[in-house]
Amino acid sequence: MKIFSQRNREAVAAYLFILPAFGLLLLFILNPMAQSLITSFYDVNLISDQRSFLGMENYQHLLNDASFYQSLGNSFYFAILVIPIQTALALTLALLVKRSFPGVGVFRTIYFIPFIISMGVASSIFRMMYNKEAGLFNVILDGIGLPVLPFLSNPDIAMIGIVILGTWKSMGFFMIVFLAGLNNIPNDLYEAAQIDGAGPIKRFFSITLPLLKKVMAFVIIITTMDALKIFIPIYVTMAGGGPAGSTRTAAYFIYNHAFQHMDMGYATAAAFIFFIIILIISLIQMRVLRSDVEY
């Protein structure tokens, strides 16, 4: 009986802790999401106050829209490339700068700098750097005798250009997330392993990686969501999904239909199909990485 009321009291305290966050979530995010969901069943123009009910028509139309599938394909292509590359590089950087030595702060700060440049400006800079004739990136490649990479005008490699930009921009942030995680691994574990004769590689796979599991789960799930939603570089670096539409992602599709075509019903329907896909992927990832909340 006493235990029961103890648990009960814990539950109430827990709800109180969550209440401010949940109240704000309800008001500013779930509520707009619900309204967008309703919009997706209507024919509604962004700038018009008229709307007519369509039922599932927007959804049916989308499922027959080749350009929608193409945009989903582009989003997934980008995500599949960027997730392993970015995560591996971020972890490598974290391992390189985790221990204290003179000057390490400078390296940490340098690796973190790209993250504090705004995405819009970074995307413009990369657009200029990628220029086939005069961009810094290609001038250097050409100067050291390598073939130039025309990311901006070759549809086959354009997405690689976005992968490089995305990784450059975000790896510093995930580096500090990994650093925070590495910080939680007690040093005596490594010392004990070393006494047992474990080499650095063995120590990495038997201590670091398993103990970073929760952080790793966070990094992978968040990178997946961010990657699938990528928009600004598509809009700026690739000037709106170019060359020849090869970088039009799902988020670009949604933006284009909502704010260019002003077809709000169609855009929100696309957003909800996309939402369901991302959610399912994230839930599978959570299951696989078994990074659940404690019970």
Partner: protein
């Protein structure tokens, strides 16, 4: 030997990472006509031929859009937003990570699912709410709707859940309230994670563009990214001013990061590991 290789590797990476940024910073000291002039590998590809502070003078002397005013606006929004965000999100994260209550999993999934919706899809209804509250053209509109952030909750949950339950049980037996446990046990043990969240929240606020664009139309209340974007016109862009303003704008965050990064140094002293 291994250390030498390591430092060399780190230096090479640092150069690669810095290249785009240095190009931006150095180009901010060029006149407009010089920025795209050099197209061959050489000294002037990075280093300006004629150094000038004109771009910096321009961004601070613009009558319509003085950059310092916008920096202060953004600083206010970023600091307030980060503080409130840390409080609200860490409360929720603590509860998800360490407390037992019904519907926990479902609630957590609801929170997490809000990260899966592209902002462009909910921007208009969110705007309507702000309009109905009469918050258009106020700082409140830039702060309050974004306090709760499932990303931050998710991040902190991963770190809070590493805190041993036994520690919390012990505190409970000593009669500590949950609030005390949160502030005395959970927070001190998770500084690196909280600092990380603080930095990214701050950077996110500093980066605010689209939302500020639609809820703020009063020039005096505008944020820094809008000012930077305003140097891009329909027919051409003053890249020198964009770069100068971006350089100035990244300084505050860089200083904050430099000051706070001591929290990422492993707490226990290292010994015997080379």
């Amino acid at each position: 030997m291994l250390n030498v290789i390591k430092v060399m590797l780190m230096t090479v990476i640092a150069f690669i990472v810095l290249l785009p940024v240095s190009w931006m910073v150095l180009s901010s000291f060029r006149l407009e006509e010089e920025i795209f002039k050099f197209t061959e590998l050489g000294y002037h590809l990075l280093i300006p031929e004629n150094w000038t502070l004109q771009n910096y003078r321009d961004i601070f002397s613009e009558n319509q859009r003085p950059l310092d005013r916008y920096m202060l606006n953004t600083l206010f929004i970023a600091v307030t937003g980060t503080f409130l965000g840390l409080l609200v999100n860490s409360f929720a994260a603590f509860s998800f990570a360490k407390m037992r209550f019904p519907l926990k999993r479902s609630l957590f999934v609801i929170f997490l699912s809000t990260l899966a919706i592209p902002f462009e899809a909910i921007m208009v209804p969110q705007y309507m709410i702000i309009r109905d509250f009469g918050w258009l053209d106020t700082y409140t509109a830039l702060i309050v709707p974004q306090i709760v952030w499932a990303f931050g909750i998710f991040l902190l949950v991963q770190f809070f859940s590493d805190i041993p339950r036994s520690l919390i049980e012990a505190a409970r037996i000593d009669g500590a309230s949950w609030l005390t446990i949160f502030f005395r046990v959970a927070v001190p043990m998770s500084w690196p994670a909280i600092i990380t969240l603080g930095i990214i929240t701050f950077v996110g606020k500093w980066d605010e563009f689209l939302w500020a664009l639609i809820v703020i139309s009063d020039d005096a209340k505008q944020v820094i990214q809008i000012a930077i974007a305003s140097y891009s016109l329909e027919t051409y862009t003053s890249w020198g001013m964009v770069f100068a303003a971006s350089t100035i704008a990244s300084i505050p965050t860089m200083i904050i990061f430099l000051l706070l990064q001591k929290y990422y140094i492993q707490g226990v002293t290292t010994s015997g590991i080379k």
